[in-house]
């Protein structure tokens, strides 16, 4: 680089117009130049950098320093990790280590942050506990509801006895007709005031109802014990069956308002 070129570069550099590629050769040429040339270049650039009288009289905005600090911190992080990873890393750091010590954070803010952080942890623990308690309560309530539904379905006073009392007797009905899905049973216990009839898939036909009857040996209806309608779901009915011979019981489908004898036997005792 000739002296002329060196001076031209110095001038362009002072005005911010030197191309990026020329900076290093210029700086190298400057370092290699004699002391008096270096001095001349320094003075020339210094002269071109007396800008104060030409600048507008505006005040530095008060809140700019934190933004400058943040920008430099971000650039540092980018240079450490590479620009592509920096945003991800910042997010990770922000997510994972919000309490990490940093020199860019004012002591007061750090102290406040620790306070808030502690409060957040405590609050988080409380919320977690409340959440777990609430969840457990929900589970319990759901279980209780299911139990209640079962109890309601099977008759609360008799459910325990049906499940756990070996003296409880079960009398099963069988459907008349091989393809019928009808299911029915009666549970009775000497300690109970009443017996319990369960039916499932025993749907009453339109205009008809289901009757629990006592049949004689010929299959005629001797007595009608109960009448109900069903859409085919689980039905339970508490009945006073004391003195009734279980083997004589049957379910009849009969027109409403008519005697059971006018109907059809749909289930008999097994």
């Amino acid at each position: 680089m000739t002296l002329q070129e060196l001076l031209e570069h110095a001038q362009l550099d002072a005005l911010g117009l030197l191309d990026e590629e020329d900076h290093e050769p210029f700086e190298a040429a400057f370092r290699a130049a004699p002391a008096e040339v270096q001095g001349q270049i320094r003075r020339e650039q210094q002269r071109l950098c007396v800008v104060d009288p030409l600048l507008p009289e505006v005040a530095l905005p008060g809140g700019l320093w934190p933004r400058v600090q943040e920008a430099v911190s971000k650039a540092r992080l980018e240079s450490l990790l590479g620009a592509s990873q920096a945003h991800e890393a910042q997010d990770r750091v922000a997510r994972a280590l919000p309490m990490m010590r940093s020199r860019v954070v004012h002591r007061a803010w750090r102290a406040g942050a620790i306070g808030f952080g502690t409060a957040a942890v405590v609050l988080g623990a409380v919320l977690l506990n409340v959440s777990m308690t609430h969840r457990q309560q929900m589970v319990n309530a759901e279980r209780d509801a299911r139990s209640l539904a079962i109890a309601e379905a099977f008759g609360r006073p008799y459910l325990s006895g049906q499940l756990f009392d070996k003296s409880t007797e079960q009398s099963l009905f069988v459907a008349v007709g091989a393809e019928s899905p009808n299911k029915a049973a009666i549970f009775s216990n000497a300690s109970w005031d009443k017996s319990v009839l369960y039916t499932q898939a025993v749907a009453s036909r339109p205009g008809q109802s289901i009757r629990l009857v006592v049949l004689d040996a010929q299959g005629n209806v001797l007595r009608e014990l109960a009448e109900f309608e069903s859409t085919g779901g689980l039905v339970h009915k508490e009945l006073d069956l004391r003195g009734v011979e279980m083997s004589q019981l049957a379910l009849v489908s009969a027109p409403k308002g008519m005697p059971a004898g006018e109907g059809t036997v749909i289930m008999r005792m097994a």
Binding site: E8, Q45, Q46, P56, V58, L64, V72
Partner: protein
């Protein structure tokens, strides 16, 4: 002389601390030169918000170059101004890259109203108008190069390629143009 050397050494140490990531040293630099940098940015860009963004960019660049600072190369204030100018020129090049260079060549009567003028810079507008007149009076190559470099946001290499002119010639033309402008405005510029 001893005081200046002490100050140079303190400046060098401060820049080394900045390069090492010392925020306290960075704040010292900001306290000393933040106002100067902001005023330079305010003059160069069209809005207060952009000036603030530019200041952030300049301090990032000062941090990047802090490790290379040598008091023997330049006083710290000169160094800060050089770095600020580079960054502002880069920024203007980014934002003015949309301008067609051919339009600049044709714009013999380029008026101040056609340009982006900083907010609240009435005095600057007058100065720019006077400067534009002086630019128009330059020889063709110098005029073209200075318009493309300053107003068109082109690098000297781009100008050389587009004008099919050696880079050295472009640099010389720009340098001579600046010297001539300086001579013609010597009454306005501080010496």
């Amino acid at each position: 002389m001893g005081d200046r050397q002490d100050q140079n050494e303190r400046d060098r140490q401060m820049m080394q601390r900045i390069a090492a990531g010392d925020d306290a040293a960075l704040k010292l630099l900001y306290e000393r030169f933040g106002s100067l940098v902001y005023r330079m940015a305010f003059q160069a860009v069209p809005s207060k918000g952009e000036a603030e963004d530019a200041v952030q960019e300049i301090f990032v660049r000062l941090w990047r170059t802090a490790g290379r600072y040598d008091p023997a190369r330049a006083a710290l204030v000169t160094w800060v101004i050089l770095i600020s100018r580079r960054q502002l020129v880069d920024r203007m090049r980014r934002t003015r890259a949309r301008i067609k260079p051919s339009a600049l060549d044709e714009a013999a009567g380029l008026s101040v109203a056609d340009r982006e003028i900083p907010v609240g810079a009435g005095e600057t507008e007058e100065r720019m108008a006077a400067m534009m007149k002086k630019i128009e009076s330059l020889p063709d190559l110098q005029k073209t190069v200075i318009k493309r470099a300053y107003l068109g946001g082109q690098t000297l290499r781009q100008i050389g390629e587009e004008l099919n002119t050696p880079l050295g010639t472009i640099k010389s033309a720009l340098s001579r143009a600046l010297m001539r402008l300086r001579e013609r405005t010597s009454e306005e510029l501080p010496t």
